[in-house]
């Protein structure tokens, strides 16, 4: 399939690998190489698979202190899948965690499913072909409040800030796309890769996990600037999203010893997921000037009103009356950039979603918002409270999602995601099972 066989060795410079991965897809479309042009001339069918060379090279290490998929740069496709957990004992839950970890290692590192007797169903859906390449796949496991609340032996171990998501004033939460005991976040270069991963997990553990809901999303792939700087992707409102994202520094994202959390949770992080419908028809009929006032940024460049590029920082100290950037502009409410508001920083990792048509014949699309923070209360919940009543609400309707805790990573082969929780549960029990 590939005219440029991918290196079989994993490249371990993560940053360089990301650029290669993200650039490859865009590059193959925007600047076709000579070889590709020749191939195109030789043979072209409209149903030919789009060419690209993301394969075994686009692989993230699964093992580590933290789980992957949090500070890992965001690829083009993402999925959140939420499950009910059937396990009722520490032993059952350990079996789930071990089995899940095993599948996620295969999926994120790549493997070749065995050939079975054709009288049997195939061991793999086959949608990625006979060899499963990682394609930049990351898998992130997170746990919902209900997992702890519904099991007496887990209750005392619940992370301090973990809670069931409750309605903010502008929310219209649909119970069918909220919450869950366990969530998997899959991210990859291509949507087929995340679908493949989900189907593998469903097929592998039907006795342990019951799918509740899922939401997929994408982000537009754009080439880096000539200076190598990559601009933030745009959301479905046409604005750049993520310009002011903090560096994925430890103190913002990862729970450490200093945080008031159970010891097993160190190395983890809180995940907030929100399915935020955008009323795009109405937005597209809103004057550009108003769109920009509501957001607090210029639409073409993403620059704040006192800057030229999206990376320029808005300076509110020179604008105390909100004459340049309105006090209720989205970016000003979300991040007022005061010394006090620094502790409310969150690491956003959203995807755009597009689901079809509503009963009223309008587009059902918006943002699969995902963010990470070491303190859910100080992070997402505080930021969202500040945003309550913002003018942008007229164009948004949060309809689903939930709050989850991402446990620390599996350290090395033989270890599994969730081990520290299981060990803590066993220590807490008089007669462990």
């Amino acid at each position: 399939m590939s005219r440029h066989p991918a290196p079989k060795q994993p490249v371990d410079n993560t940053r360089r690998r990301l650029l290669l991965g993200a650039g490859a897809a865009a590059g193959s479309v925007l600047v076709p190489g000579a070889a590709q042009a020749e191939a195109a001339a030789a043979r072209h069918h409209v149903t030919d698979a789009p060419t690209g060379d993301a394969s075994f090279a686009d692989r993230w290490p699964f093992y580590g202190e933290h789980q992957q998929g949090v500070t890992t740069p965001r690829p083009a496709s993402g999925m959140i899948a939420s499950f009910d957990v059937l396990a009722q004992t520490p032993g059952d839950l350990e079996a789930l965690f071990r089995g899940l970890t095993e599948r996620l290692v295969f999926l994120t590192q790549g493997w070749t499913p065995p050939e079975l007797d054709p009288k049997l169903p195939p061991p793999d859906s086959g949608i990625l072909g006979p060899v499963v390449a990682p394609d930049n796949l990351t898998a992130t496991v997170s746990l919902g409040s209900s997992l702890f609340d519904d099991r007496d032996w887990l209750k005392p171990l619940k992370p301090k800030k973990l809670q069931r998501m409750t309605k903010f004033p502008n929310d219209a939460l649909d119970a069918g796309i909220c919450h869950g005991d366990l969530v998997l976040q899959f991210c990859a270069n291509r949507p087929d890769t995340t679908i493949h991963a989900l189907r593998d997990v469903l097929k592998s553990m039907p006795d342990k996990l019951l799918l509740r809901w899922k939401q997929e999303g994408t982000v537009p792939v754009i080439p880096p600037n000539p200076d190598g700087r990559v601009e933030s992707a745009r959301n479905l409102l046409g604005f750049r999203d993520g310009s002011a994202n903090p560096d994925s520094g430890d103190s913002i994202v990862w729970v450490g010893e200093a945080h008031d959390e159970p010891a097993w949770a160190v190395g983890g992080t809180y995940q907030a997921v929100r399915i935020v419908r955008n009323f795009v028809e109405r937005w597209d009929r809103t004057p550009l000037g108003e769109q920009e006032r509501i957001m607090g940024r210029r639409k073409p460049s993403g620059a704040p009103f006192n800057g030229h590029t999206e990376f320029d920082e808005p300076d509110y100290t020179k604008d105390p009356d909100g004459k340049v950037t309105a006090h209720d502009a989205h970016i000003r409410l979300a991040n007022p950039r005061t010394a006090e508001s620094r502790k409310n920083l969150i690491l956003r990792r959203p995807f755009n979603y597009s689901n079809g048509v509503t009963k009223s014949g309008q587009l059902e699309q918006g943002l699969l918002f995902i963010c990470y923070q070491a303190d859910l209360e100080a992070g997402f919940i505080t930021v969202q409270r500040r945003l309550n009543g913002e003018p942008l609400e007229e164009y948004l309707k949060p309809i689903g999602g939930g709050y989850f805790y991402v446990p620390p990573g599996a350290l090395s082969p033989g270890d599994y995601v969730g081990r520290t929780l299981i060990e803590a549960a066993r220590e807490g029990k008089a007669s462990p099972t």
Partner: protein
């Protein structure tokens, strides 16, 4: 205040020539905005007295009377919804739907008109509805007080013509607003009337310059009127499920086109 505006407009005219037209338009809007304020006040007065009768019937346990008053009472609210929505908390308390709550109809937080509608139609009872009726009446009274003391922002008034069409297009055309009573056509009528009122008030300001636009919008309002008139029944309208698929498409197309066209109304009047 007015003199100041004139002065500013004159200064702008000198400085920027063409741009001064925007300022002139703002001044021209003083009359239409004042007229619109009267329209809002009349609707509010009617809303207060109708809501009183409706909630009295609920509290008296008179299910049939309450049912008969539900749809007409809502019309004066729906006609001025863009102004009512300036007070988001009250709008949510008065007119939110079961979908706004995770436990839907069973959610104890589900308030207002649609909670009463649910009780009256789905449960055919007024049991437990008295506190909800009292709260609705209190909310409507509060809204009345707030709007009466409000200086209507011109861009909100003019933008309201489009906003009403956006409401219909996004969440009403499907018949999901009055899902228990199916009295949606009453709401439609009020929304269209409210939008058309704003359009007609500012129409003289753009009639000359924007003849094609004015005609297109007026024609679409006429299409809506003709279509809805087919479903007239006494003082009100037939149930939503009587609306033919063909007419639903005609209405949906008119709504979308009105929403597109009216979204330029602010700019045509020089409002930002």
């Amino acid at each position: 205040m007015k003199a100041k505006h004139l002065l500013a407009a004159a200064a702008l005219a000198v400085l920027f020539g063409g741009q001064a037209r925007a300022e002139d338009a703002t001044l021209d809007l003083v009359g239409p905005i004042a007229d619109y304020k009267i329209y809002v006040s009349e609707n509010l007065q009617k809303l207060v007295s109708d809501t009183q009768a409706f909630t009295d019937a609920v509290k008296a346990g008179d299910v049939e009377k309450a049912k008969s008053l539900f749809a007409p009472t809502r019309m004066s609210y729906e006609a001025i919804e863009p102004i009512a929505e300036l007070f988001g908390d009250l709008d949510a308390s008065i007119d939110s739907r079961a979908d706004d709550y995770e436990a839907a109809e069973k959610d104890p937080a589900f308030p207002g008109f649609h909670r009463l509608e649910y009780g009256l139609w789905e449960q055919n009872s007024t049991e437990g509805l008295a506190p909800i009726a009292d709260k609705l009446m209190a909310d409507v009274n509060e809204l009345n007080g707030l709007i009466t003391n409000l200086t209507l922002p011109p861009e909100k008034v003019v933008g309201g013509a489009a906003a009403l069409m956006e409401e219909v297009a996004a969440t009403k055309i499907s018949g999901e607003e009055d899902r228990y009573s199916h009295t949606d056509l009453w709401d439609f009528k009020a929304n269209f009337d409210g939008s058309q009122k704003i359009f007609e008030l500012v129409r003289p300001l753009i009639e000359q310059k924007e003849g094609d636009f004015v005609k297109k919008v007026a024609d679409n309002f006429a299409t809506v009127d003709t279509t809805l008139a087919k479903y007239k029944d006494g003082e009100g309208y037939q149930l939503y499920d009587k609306l033919s698929e063909e007419d639903r498409k005609v209405l949906a197309t008119a709504v979308n086109t009105l929403a597109e066209d009216l979204s330029t109304l602010r700019a045509k009047l020089g409002l930002s």
